[in-house]
Amino acid sequence: MLLPVRGLPAAPHRPLTHPHSSPAPPPSLLGARRRRPSRRLSKVVSYYGLTTPPYKTDALEPYMSRRAVELHWGKHQQEYVDGLNRQLAISPLYGHTLEDLIKEAYNNGNPLPEYNDAAEVWNHHFFWESMQPEGGGSPEAGVLQQIEKDFGSFFNFREEFMRSALSLLGSGWVWLVLKRSERKLEVVHTRNAINPLAFGDIPIISLDLWEHAYYLDYKDDRRTYVSNFLDHLVSWHTVTLRMMRAEAFVNLGEPTIPVA
């Protein structure tokens, strides 16, 4: 989904090893002249750029002020992008797509130094696209059916989302995810930068619960922030598209057994 901004030929998969510990290249034959690659070509590198939210920075007013969006997107997310690029310049993880990078760098719960920035870049991009001006309300058709199936009712889903968001102690994110193996939607929260991709879940909605996401507009009132997100900002349109994509990986339908 997120690709490096400048064209990078598909990078060969490099095993996750430290550059210094990688096996030495095979020794060249004595006297054989090694073709030196062109310096200019060998310098092609590509890094991540700051993606733009799919609306103007003041489009979410009054529920998320322009000032808050500009700081959050233009400063915080930019810092994560810069931090990630700084690390990739010297990292053996260079060349992965962002999603692969997050999974690799999570390292089964012992995150590598690249993890934090990589996950935050992804999380914020996903967060901006989880919202739209005039959002909120309730989903329709298939998404609503799936929510009613997995939570009992849309009201229950809303309660669960609020409960999960308010019970997160400290900074983090609350997510609506599609569990691959259980084949159902679930609300989870994660600490700091942790991203459910690493657990094999398919994220559907994300909401930033770091204080920087709501402090300028709501101060310490996380409850109003979360309820405004659900009532006025969340984009069920995006959710529908994400669910459609997720269905390529998870069979949500009832098995229909043809009668002979």
Binding site: L71, G170, H212, Y215, K219, D220
Partner: protein, 297 residues
Amino acid sequence: VFLFLRQVSVPSHFRSFYSWAVPGRPPAQSARSGSIIYQPHRTSPRHLDPPFPFPKPSPHTPNTLSMALRTLAAKKTLGLALGGARPPAAARGVATFTLPDLPYDYGALEPAVSGEIMRLHHQKHHATYVANYNKALEQLDAAVSKGDASAVVHLQSAIKFNGGGHVNHSIFWKNLKPISEGGGEAPHGKLGWAIDEDFGSIEKLIKKMNAEGAALQGSGWVWLALDKEAKRLSVETTPNQDPLVTKGSNLHPLLGIDVWEHAYYLQYKNVRPDYLTNIWKVVNWKYAGEEYEKVLA
């Protein structure tokens, strides 16, 4: 009768906690902005209220009825009168915590930390930790007396978080001091010597604490800790509201710096390093030095 009892048993600061929502009973803010006096009979137009009418839970709010009932409960007459019904936690004397006063005005730390930040931080954040800590302790007491083991375990995270929030902030307020009263003055005496010995110089210590604070992911605290056994100073960080004691029972906090975003966001926005640089101008080294000498005495 039980319902009635429950009502009275709510600690007095809970009532003042919610009272701002009652129309016509706004809390008054005294000239010294650090203390808010609850005046139930004052009626004033809404626009004269302080912008965040969140009265400080005051332990001094007199409530004769509940006090009388508590006295009765203490004498166990009430329990007997109810035919053995268990009096609620507060009546049985479960310790409740109250929000401590700030030893200076909200605006006194400007320009290092703005008055608005201090007010929100004290009246909203710290007050919420205290309220939720008391609530969790009451639930814990109920769970213990019911013998509900899983509920007891479940309450641990709330107790650690809210209790830690109360402990940490109570230290944090004492760690700060207005410049006019000697804030930021480098430590003298034994602590000064110990810092030179363990870190090289005070500048190196500050640099180390700033670096660790800036590198801390998410919310948390950075501490100057004293190891009581080894008699050595160290720099520690704790995530979220974990108090320093979670890093080792030997560690005593001399100085804690809040690096939650709520501690600086309104003023410094995303630039945590600037906040960390400026906070040293209002650090109360005298308090840290006294703690150091007290612990090692």
